[in-house]
């Protein structure tokens, strides 16, 4: 797994070799961005891969929004789309009418070693 990705903002930034490179994220920053991409995409939103994203959105406006169900859904979707992440666990740390914030815990298994107990915060504006 090459943990190197374009920054989602696709902003041009100054680098030592060039003044016009598109921003790049690597390592755990890349993983955070992968998780963010899944958390901010509703299933069915990408026509070429309708299973990409998460359907926890379905529970947000259901009247009796259940944070526990949302946590399980998002954790399952992250695990299925990023197979290198294991022991994925999600906690809803903030949930208002306008924003939901998740804390995602995971371990990274690159096939040789397992780096345990990493986490990141993902904020999704509603």
């Amino acid at each position: 797994m090459a943990l190197k990705d374009f920054s989602i903002t696709l902003q041009k930034i100054k680098t030592s070799s060039s003044t016009n490179d598109v921003g790049i994220v690597t390592g755990f920053n890349a993983i955070t961005q992968y998780i963010e991409n899944i958390a901010k995409t509703q299933k069915g939103e990408v026509p070429s891969d309708v299973n990409f994203g998460s359907d926890y959105f379905n529970y947000i406006f259901s009247g009796n929004a259940d944070a526990g169900v949302m946590e399980l859904k998002l954790a399952a979707d992250i695990s299925s789309k990023i197979p290198e992440l294991v022991d994925v666990k999600v906690n809803v740390v903030n949930f208002t009418d306008t924003v939901v914030t998740f804390e995602v815990f995971y371990s990274l298994n690159n096939g040789i070693t397992k780096q345990q107990n990493s986490s990141c915060f993902i904020e999704v504006k509603l």
Binding site: M1, A2, L3, K4, D5, F6, S7, I8, L10, I24, A30, Q33, Y34, I35, N37, I38, V46, P47, S48, D49, F52, K81, I82
Partner: protein, 357 residues
């Protein structure tokens, strides 16, 4: 940097194949090879989705456009009618059932588009209309058309034309032009060939195929120009296809029938293949039978029952010069003579048509 574009295969219409090819190509570039193209959650992969989607849509639109630009490959009726318009030929996708009747009016004139109620062989109510006005106390031969009357007023003063939908029967079109200053209305005359009249400034219009169906246009050399001082109203009958064939028409109190021919000739909306055949016969063959293929196209366009399957039609040169043998498998014997009569109107002088294999 030199790119090996020969390995980039994005001319496909298959999204998955385009995306795979794009990724394969970009992964091999030195600047990009360390990026994570494969994980569906990566921004790089999402960017590939956008590129591949745009490429696939471009390909599909281009292919659709190319296919529908030619008479031989077009797949939609509007496309065929648009091509017909470019070739200045008229395709009629549907026709009203009609009959010619001699009528006598009483002291009340018969206005244009008056209704004649009727009952078709399935006991359904249908309505027939006359197109021309008949003065009071007159005996006249008129045609009655089955359908419903529609009015169109969206005249384009720039192109001097008005689009009409394909479901109307072009034989039923009436163009009334009113001078809004004098309030005088003139009914314009339909012309099929502008070369028949030598002088200009006439009240002439022509009907062509347009992208929506038909185009009523006064943008022809012999016609006078219509300015915004004039209001144009086009009235036409929307075809109900074959529903009016064989219907029994009731006479009106102000118009009694002297003849009673049953209505016929109503045709439901034709298929795309039928429209293509019409277009090729009219545009390529100019509605004349010269080659053996012209005869085939003419037979397919005859409107005679049982002549719409190309494989059933056999056309061959006869045993003597000037003789053409025609045969249609499963054609009713009563339709043989009407078919030959129809083909004689399209054939060259001196051609002898024989109905045989």
């Amino acid at each position: 940097m030199a790119y090996d574009l020969s390995s980039l295969n994005v001319a496909s219409l298959d999204f998955t194949q385009i995306k795979r090819s794009l990724i394969q190509f970009l992964k091999n570039q030195d600047d990009l090879k360390s990026l994570d193209f494969d994980n569906p959650a990566s921004t790089t992969n999402m960017l590939m989705n956008v590129f591949a989607t745009a490429t696939a849509y471009n390909g599909i639109y281009a292919q659709y456009g190319y296919i529908n630009s030619f008479a031989t490959t077009a797949t939609t009726l509007p496309s065929i009618m648009g091509i017909a318009a470019n070739s200045s030929v008229l395709i009629e996708p549907t026709k009203c059932a009609k009959t010619t009747r001699t009528i006598t009016t009483n002291a009340t004139k018969l206005s244009a588009y008056s209704t004649f109620t009727a009952t078709n062989p399935n006991n359904a109510q249908v309505i027939f209309y006359n197109v021309e006005e008949i003065a009071a106390n007159t005996t006249s031969s008129i045609q009655l058309y089955c359908g419903s009357v529609e009015e169109f007023t969206e005249f384009d003063y720039n192109t001097l034309s008005m689009p009409l939908p394909y479901y109307i029967d072009p034989d039923t079109i009436t163009v009334n032009v009113t001078n809004t200053n004098t309030n005088i209305t003139v009914t314009w005359e339909k012309v099929d060939s502008v070369t028949k009249t030598s002088s200009g400034n006439q009240t002439h219009y022509a009907v062509l195929n347009g992208n929506l169906g038909y185009l009523v246009t006064v943008n022809i050399p012999t016609a006078q120009t219509i300015t915004t001082d004039y209001k144009v109203v086009v009235t036409a009958i929307r075809s109900t296809g074959s529903a009016g064939n064989g219907a029994v028409i009731n006479q009106r109190t102000n118009a009694t029938f002297n003849t009673y021919d049953l209505p016929s000739g109503g045709v439901d909306l034709i298929s795309v293949n039928k429209a293509k055949t019409q277009l090729r016969f009219k545009a390529t063959g100019q509605e004349r039978c010269v080659t053996l293929n012209d005869y085939k196209q003419a037979i397919l366009n005859s409107g005679i029952s049982g002549t719409d399957i190309e494989d059933n039609i056999t056309v061959a040169a006869g045993s003597v010069p000037g003789q053409v043998k025609i045969y249609v498998t499963d054609l009713s014997s009563s339709d043989e003579t009407p078919l030959l009569d129809y083909l004689y109107t399209k054939s060259l002088v001196g051609i002898n048509l024989v109905y045989s294999l």
